[in-house]
């Protein structure tokens, strides 16, 4: 019996030792570096092991026959190999290829400030727009603390890298926004029409952008709206300048939000000293509705619509100094509808479609002048993208823009009606090619046809980026950019060509550990700019495309969220050298909107104990020029530099209540934006003038934001932290 047992035991052990196969070897990367932690196992079995610190592995298996050995490591291409298990030792030297991952690979960021929750190298977010002092809750106000922009206090619009404000375009969810700013009086700052809380991500490109975007000589701002919120909620805000209420109803795959906003600056203006005499303070009423619906597995349909009515009357506004001072009255009605759909058709194919419609009426009374401006715009776009291989992607699309502009003017000498309608047809294609995870190039082209101008233009766009280390990279971009002349000129003539700017941009960026540094050198060559020769602006023969110019400069940006605990600061500096001959310029000159040095420093601090986020912003813009018709030098006068020290404080009073206070230009720097002159000289031959001042030296905002949800526990913290 014993013998039998031991025999059986011997047999069993012997048998198993005969069948046992040893799998051993080493795993290394492409350069021969040992890879530890690699999962090496036989497919469908429990036999396997992780490689050790030298990349070595060794395990035994009782399985026999042919099985597949799987070798896996995060960040590497999986490797598999059939092995014949027959009781001996299998030795393998395995080399793993690094997986190409676009997320970790170099990306082209020349000229671009991108922010979204997915990106590590976030530079500015919609949240920053709300909480950055000086931005005062305005999308465009916040962007003016970024390099490449020049603050024009009498405009409030974006002026990018020596470009005029009309040279920048705004897109929401892929659709062009025809009227991104509120209507305003000449020389009075305006704000963006849209609430920054609407957006989850921004891309601000200050040059060299993709062939997808046309009709912008200087910059594009791409805003994407929020997705489906987490739950039903009601939001109320009470501010020193107005009220708004908003409600969101959610269902499983979608949500609808309705918002009503009423703003009236009268109470505020009666308390704070104003530089202008307002007969009727700015007042506006707007309604918004937004629907978001998931379609299929990955599709998202978004619909947004806003109706906006506003008006104001500025008393004794010194616009035309030769005539008696008169009230300037403006009534504005604006409707905007925006629809977009995004979908992934297959693993490789994606498409998005966007549509927008705008109509805008500006009714201006400026005794004895009456001007009625009506703008109607349609925008339609369809883009396709295909990932042909993991390193090669192609994008193409078509775009249609229709714009008609009507102007009815009643002036002393009679009535004038002018109008134009233009249809722009465009197509683009662009290839993105990765040579490795370190080098990427984007090559594209765009064609545009305008029926009103009867012009056809083709424009190449190139950009590339090279990663020198995990954290640092160089990027470069070159391209031609065309844009139709401004609406005010197209009213009088169609015998013009699109204006052109060629961009040359070179940038360096390095970011690590929540610190980002970037420097960018650029040169812009402006061609075929429209010139208005002589005072007869209503004659088509007064216009031609003989203007030209250049802008060059250096932009510098540093953001550090790490060094100071609970603190975050950024410093922007831009140097700009530009001259151009355009519009009514008699010769090449520095334009009024350009300032040589622009500096901004923002600091934000989270005070946990006080549940508060404080922000301070100091901005400086070197003196800009303006023209004095009494002088023989064109644009020869200089205004004082622009300086402003801004503060903002957000305090979380309750879980669902935020109090907010902000002041712009706390110390009351005397800012002045040049002078406006009479169009004709007085009896002694002198053109009379008046200073162009900001609406007020300081601007205060107080507010309280309340969020209510069914659970009652939703919080505003997310918004300020």
């Amino acid at each position: 019996m014993k013998m039998i047992v031991s025999y059986i035991l011997f047999f069993l052990i012997g048998a198993s030792s005969i069948a046992q196969t040893v799998v051993t070897g080493k795993v290394a990367g492409e350069k021969g570096e040992p890879l530890p932690g690699v999962n090496v196992f036989l497919k469908g079995t429990y036999d396997g092991i992780s490689s050790n610190s030298k990349g070595e592995f060794r395990f035994k298996t009782n399985k026999t026959g042919e099985l597949v050995l799987l070798v896996n490591l995060l960040g590497y291409e999986p490797f598999s190999k059939p092995v014949e298990l027959k009781g001996d030792t299998i030795r393998l030297n395995i080399q793993l290829k690094e997986k190409f991952n676009q997320l970790n690979a170099v990306t082209i960021n020349v000229g671009t400030f991108e922010a979204s929750d997915k990106k590590q190298a976030v530079t500015i977010t919609p949240l920053d727009m709300m909480t950055t002092a000086g931005a005062a809750g305005d999308v465009y106000g916040a962007l003016q603390s970024l390099p490449g922009t020049t603050i024009n206090g009498e405009s409030g619009r974006l002026f990018v890298k020596g470009g005029d404000s009309e040279e920048s375009q705004t897109y929401i969810d892929g659709s062009l926004v025809a009227t991104p700013y509120n209507s305003s009086a000449p020389n009075l700052a305006t704000r963006g029409r849209f609430n920054p809380f609407m957006f989850k991500g921004t891309v601000f490109s200050t040059g060299g952008y993709s062939a997808e975007y046309g009709q912008a000589l200087s910059s594009v701002l791409l805003l994407s709206t929020n997705d489906i919120p987490a739950e039903d909620q009601l939001d109320f805000s009470i501010m020193s300048i107005g009220l708004d209420a908003s409600g969101t109803k959610k269902w499983s795959n979608g949500a609808v939000t309705g918002t009503v906003t009423y703003n009236n600056l009268a109470p505020y203006m009666s308390l704070a000293k104003q530089n202008y005499d307002w007969q009727k303070a700015p007042e506006s009423l707007s309604g918004e509705i937004s629907v978001r619906q998931k379609t299929g597995k990955s599709g998202m349909l978004k619909l947004y619509s806003k109706i906006d009515n506003s008006n104001f009357t500025l008393g004794q506004y010194p616009l035309a100094l030769e005539s008696k001072p008169a009230d300037f009255q403006l009534l504005n009605q604006n409707q905007f509808v925006n629809t977009s759909w995004n979908g992934q058709l297959s693993e490789k194919w994606g498409t998005n479609a966007a549509f927008s419609y705008t109509n805008n009426l500006d009714d201006i009374h400026f005794d004895p002048t009456k001007v009625n401006k009506y703008l109607e715009a349609f925008y339609l776009k369809n883009n396709w993208s295909v990932q042909l291989t993991e390193k090669f992607a192609l994008k193409f699309g078509a775009e249609f823009v229709s714009k008609s502009f009507d102007q009815h003017a009643e002036i002393a000498d009679g009535k004038h009606d002018n109008r134009f309608t233009n249809h722009n047809y465009s197509g683009f294609t662009e290839a993105q090619i990765y040579a490795s995870s370190r080098f990427v190039a984007r090559i594209g082209g765009r064609v545009e046809y305008s029926d009103y101008l009867n012009s056809f233009r083709a424009m190449p766009r190139f950009s590339a980026a090279y990663k020198i280390s995990g954290k640092s990279q160089f990027s470069a971009a070159y391209g031609w950019f065309y844009q139709n002349p401004i609406d005010d000129y197209l009213l009088y003539t169609s015998h013009l060509s699109p204006e052109r700017a060629d961009h040359y941009t070179f940038s360096f960026q390095s970011s690590a550990n929540s610190r980002t540094i970037r420097a960018e050198l650029y040169y812009k060559d402006y061609k075929s700019l429209v010139k208005l020769n002589g005072p007869e602006f209503y004659l088509p023969s007064s216009y031609d495309n003989s203007g030209s110019g250049y802008a060059s400069g250096l932009d510098f940006f540093w953001r550090d969220k790490k060094t100071i605990k609970n603190g975050d600061y950024w410093i922007s500096y831009s140097y700009l050298d530009t001259r151009r001959d355009y519009r009514n310029f008699p010769e090449k000159a520095v334009p009024t909107f350009a300032s040589k040095h622009n500096f901004s420093m923002v600091y934000k601090h989270w005070f946990g104990g006080l549940r508060s986020l404080a922000s301070v912003n100091f901005r400086y813009s070197s003196p800009r020029v303006y023209n004095n018709p009494n002088s023989t030098v064109f644009n020869g006068e200089k205004m004082p530099p622009y300086r402003s020290l801004d503060l903002s404080w957000s305090f979380l009073y309750r879980t669902n209540v935020i109090m907010y206070a902000a002041v712009t230009n706390l110390t009351g720097f005397k800012n002045e934006f040049g002078r406006s002159y009479a169009t004709v000289p007085d009896a002694s031959g002198v053109y009379q003038s008046a200073a162009i001042l900001p609406g007020s030296d300081r601007f205060f905002v107080f507010g309280c934001f309340i969020t209510l949800t069914r659970k009652g526990s939703a919080n505003q913290l997310d918004k300020i932290e």
Binding site: G44, D117, Q120, A230, E721
Partner: protein
């Protein structure tokens, strides 16, 4: 009678073995035991590797995926390096979790882990991701509580979330101490479905309760 019992036994055994073959249960138990020794990213990775191997051998089981994802989430917490690395670990966890939610959409534990994973994403960059991921994480955990209101890990997760956000809300984190004490007192009443089902969290509640005193 004997025959019937025998037949039943055979059927039962075959059923059990079909549901969970003994090698699987044994291997899982053995591998789960190694959790206690894991401290570094490398430790968790090689443990995660083992669960990956088991998941590969047992295509119908969600538990190996659960623990594989758990290992990679823990790696993201242990990792001292940059956010991109943490995100790459969480990418692995995300894949495993999405497979799991398809295989076992009715399991509360799956959503507790999903909430944990989303917290991991948030922790990579709280400033930028706070808004989105705190909401998503709460949603996932609510789903778990909806399926199984008694699940102690879902309750633990909720207490942790509440306590974590309390200082920002002007609340005292200790106001959630009674919840933690109650959870600890009733912890053992919850019986996992099997020895290899998730059973972690008691020491975490103990830690919270200790901190309350």
């Amino acid at each position: 009678m004997k025959k019937i019992i025998l037949l039943l036994a055979v059927v039962l055994v075959s059923l059990v073995s079909k549901a969970q073959n003994p090698e699987y249960v044994q291997k899982m138990g053995q591998t789960l035991g190694e959790f206690a020794n894991c401290k570094t990213v490398d430790d968790f990775q090689s443990l995660g590797n083992k669960f990956e191997m088991i998941a590969n051998a047992e295509k119908g089981e969600w538990l190996p995926l659960y623990y594989q994802a758990d290992c990679y989430i823990l790696m993201s917490f242990v990792e001292q390096g940059d956010g991109a690395k943490k995100d790459s670990y969480l990418d692995v966890a995300e894949k495993a979790i999405s497979k799991m939610t398809e295989m076992a959409p009715g399991e509360a534990e799956v959503y507790v882990l999903q909430a944990f994973y989303l917290t991991g994403r948030l922790v990579v960059n709280p400033m930028e991701r706070g808004q989105q991921y705190s909401g998503l994480s709460q949603q996932a955990n609510s789903k778990a509580l909806g399926i199984d209101p008694a699940n102690p890990r879902a309750k633990l997760m909720k207490i942790q979330m509440d306590m974590g956000s309390a200082p920002y809300m002007g609340l005292d984190p200790k106001s959630f101490c009674p919840d933690a004490k109650e959870l600890l007192a009733k912890w053992d009443e919850f019986k996992p479905k099997s020895p290899i089902h998730p059973n972690w969290g008691k020491d975490q509640v103990e830690g919270i309760v200790k901190g309350c005193q």
